[in-house]
């Protein structure tokens, strides 16, 4: 998939530019659980610091939904704010919870709300914000092998359109928010894989 190739190249570029970033898998011991503190997290830049997209991006109220290992997937939410005068595109994400994280949106297909990868990533408008919320856009964590329990912290790194990256931690909260099923004919069980994926994303 061309989109993925592009992302890989960008990520490789960004990674090569990083020197001072701790490994993603390492859990920061003094991790910020508060939104304001998280917004001040290390921003990784390749070039002029004041010019990167990461410098213009803040994350607030970020959290991750708890999930057991069997589910193998979950979703991350929060509000991304762009303080600059140019749009910023979030192109990809990586987390400490697994090797695979995708940018997802929820769309209506026929009578059904389904989850799919967001073409072109999330655009955070200049001077505006982009909300990741249950039932809407979110970061979809896949291939988890360990559970995420209430109070855990997941480190997230976003790679932006100019190759710069931003890292933050998300606190794990237990909730069934977004799991309403309005269609009474819908199968209430989560036995099939697609059902589980949708639940995790909501």
């Amino acid at each position: 998939m061309p989109a993925n190739l592009k992302r890989s190249r960008r990520f490789a570029f960004a990674a090569s530019a990083l020197v001072a970033v701790a490994a993603l898998s390492a859990c920061s011991s003094d991790s910020a659980t508060d939104s304001d503190a998280a917004a001040d997290n290390v921003k990784v830049v390749g070039g002029d610091a004041s010019a990167t997209a990461a410098d213009r991006l803040n994350i607030a109220d970020q959290w991750v939904k708890t999930a057991d290992a069997k589910a193998g997937m979950t979703a991350i939410f929060g509000t991304i704010t762009n303080t600059g005068d140019q749009d910023v595109v979030v192109e990809s994400a990586k987390t400490s919870a697994s090797d695979t994280t995708e940018l997802h949106e929820m769309v209506m297909k026929g009578n059904e709300m389904i989850m799919q990868e967001k073409e072109g990533g999330f655009t955070v408008p200049a001077g505006g914000e982009h909300e990741l919320a249950p039932g809407g856009d979110h970061l979809m964590v896949l291939n988890m092998t360990e559970p995420i329990e209430a109070g855990d912290e997941v480190t997230v790194r976003l790679t932006l359109g100019d190759g710069s990256t931003q890292e933050f931690t998300a606190l794990a909260k237990e909730t069934t928010a977004g799991e309403e099923k309005y269609d009474t004919e819908m199968d209430m069980g989560d036995s099939d894989e697609m059902g589980e994926m949708e639940d995790a994303a909501k």
């Binding site: 910020a32 659980t33 959290w63």
Partner: protein, 405 residues
């Protein structure tokens, strides 16, 4: 009241006009007077206080130095069996984040009902660690002995259902609605890691019923807390906050007691007897030997027959600190969980004493009170729980981080 309401309104009109002319500041944001002969002549527009909030982050935890709010709920949790340091860390991370957000008037993460916490009304959330928490994190020896083994007193009639706990959450607000929401959300986030041991609700006079700074009345009718150190003073800091070890610096110790009042007997007691038991007047809390509320009773004073006016067993005489280390902050609330089916009251005091060292303060004072306090006739301690109160934390940290890591 002997005067009819109309007279009182007229009195208000006159007083209001005078005060407005004199430039009274404070009590009312606006004082509107309509026509002279209108019966509804006085209208006071009060400023809404719901949005007032207390800072969560700081050197000390909130809910200690802040003037006691109108409502409280004390919630004691027990860690689930098998809990270790990682479980405790997760629990404290969650609860700290919740507390900071709701005290700001915001929803916890993942909640979507912003109206409920929007008017915190001086909401505070305060955490205390019981002996079981120290055991769970593998640091049992760091729990002060007085917290693990508070002495029993001869007058105690403690019940398990009001006693103990691994983690205390004290939630206070001047408004019971945001308090209810905060306690519920905190409990919800705790329940994957802990169970509820007990929850006790209490109250003080409504905010604004008397001028700020007035000592609250308890359900005996007494002014309760007269001897408290004034906030923002060296005396307060020395009395309440610990100087070490490092993880406890700026923290405190909390002794929580549920004290039942025998109100039926007390009701029927003559006023002189009530005042002798306390050595203070019921009306204004001043000593029976004269002076103002802040004065100590004169234990040397004698009546016309040469007998001491103040009994040695008077509550104030026994409870007053005899050395500085015996001082404590009495942050008490009343409770009323009655009446019972047979019409008996179920009332008393949720006594929360904060002090730098409970071994030198609460234990010393309570030892004297258990031996000889005239008030023992009408009170019984039926619940007891002791906690280490960690210091406050900075943004990005959680309460107890220096201990739990």
């Amino acid at each position: 009241m002997s005067q009819p309401p109309l007279s009182r309104r007229r009195l208000l009109l006159g007083g209001g006009a005078t005060l407005a002319g004199g430039g009274l500041a404070g009590a009312a944001a606006g004082l509107a007077l309509s026509g002279n002969d209108s019966p509804a002549v006085s209208q006071v527009v009060e400023e809404a206080k719901g949005s007032e909030n207390v800072a969560f982050y700081g050197v000390h935890q909130p809910g200690i130095e802040d003037a006691a709010q109108a409502h409280v709920r004390f919630l004691a949790l027990d860690l689930k069996p098998g809990s270790d340091v990682e479980h405790v860390r997760r629990l404290l991370r969650l609860l700290t984040d919740d507390a900071a957000r709701m005290m700001r008037g915001e929803v916890p993460l993942a909640a979507n009902d912003p109206e409920l916490p929007a008017l915190p009304s001086r909401l505070t959330v305060t955490f205390g660690f019981g002996p079981g928490l120290f055991d769970a994190i593998g640091r049992p020896d760091d729990c002060p002995d007085v917290i693990r083994n508070l002495p029993t007193f001869a007058t105690d009639q403690l019940e398990d259902r009001w006693s103990g706990g691994d983690l205390l959450i004290q939630v206070c607000s001047d408004d019971a609605v945001p308090l209810s929401y905060a306690l519920r959300r905190l409990t919800r986030d705790a329940r994957s890691l802990a169970t509820v041991r007990w929850c006790q609700s209490g109250f003080n006079p409504a905010r604004g019923s008397e001028p700020a700074g007035t000592t609250h009345r308890n359900l005996f009718g007494q002014r309760d807390g007269t001897a408290n150190p004034p906030g923002a003073t060296t005396e307060f800091t020395d009395t309440v906050f610990s100087t070490g070890p490092d993880w406890l610096k700026g923290g405190s110790m909390l002794v929580f007691r549920r004290i039942r009042m025998d109100l039926d007997d007390w009701d029927d007691l003559g006023r002189p007897a009530k005042e002798m038991a306390m050595a203070r007047k019921m009306s204004d809390g001043s000593p029976v030997t004269g002076g103002s509320e802040q004065d100590d009773p004169d234990t040397a004073a004698v009546d016309q027959n040469g007998f001491p006016i103040v009994a040695q067993e008077a509550h104030v005489v026994q409870a007053t600190a005899r050395v500085p280390e015996e001082r404590m902050l009495r942050r008490a609330f009343s409770y009323d969980d009655g009446p019972s089916a047979d019409g008996k009251p179920d009332c008393g005091l949720l006594f929360a004493a904060y002090q730098a060292d409970a071994a030198k303060a609460f234990v010393a004072v309570q030892t004297r009170l258990a031996e000889a306090d005239a008030m023992n006739e009408w009170i019984t301690h039926i619940g007891s729980a002791t906690f280490v109160v960690p210091p406050g934390c900075a943004e990005g940290e959680f309460i107890g981080q220096a201990l739990v890591g």
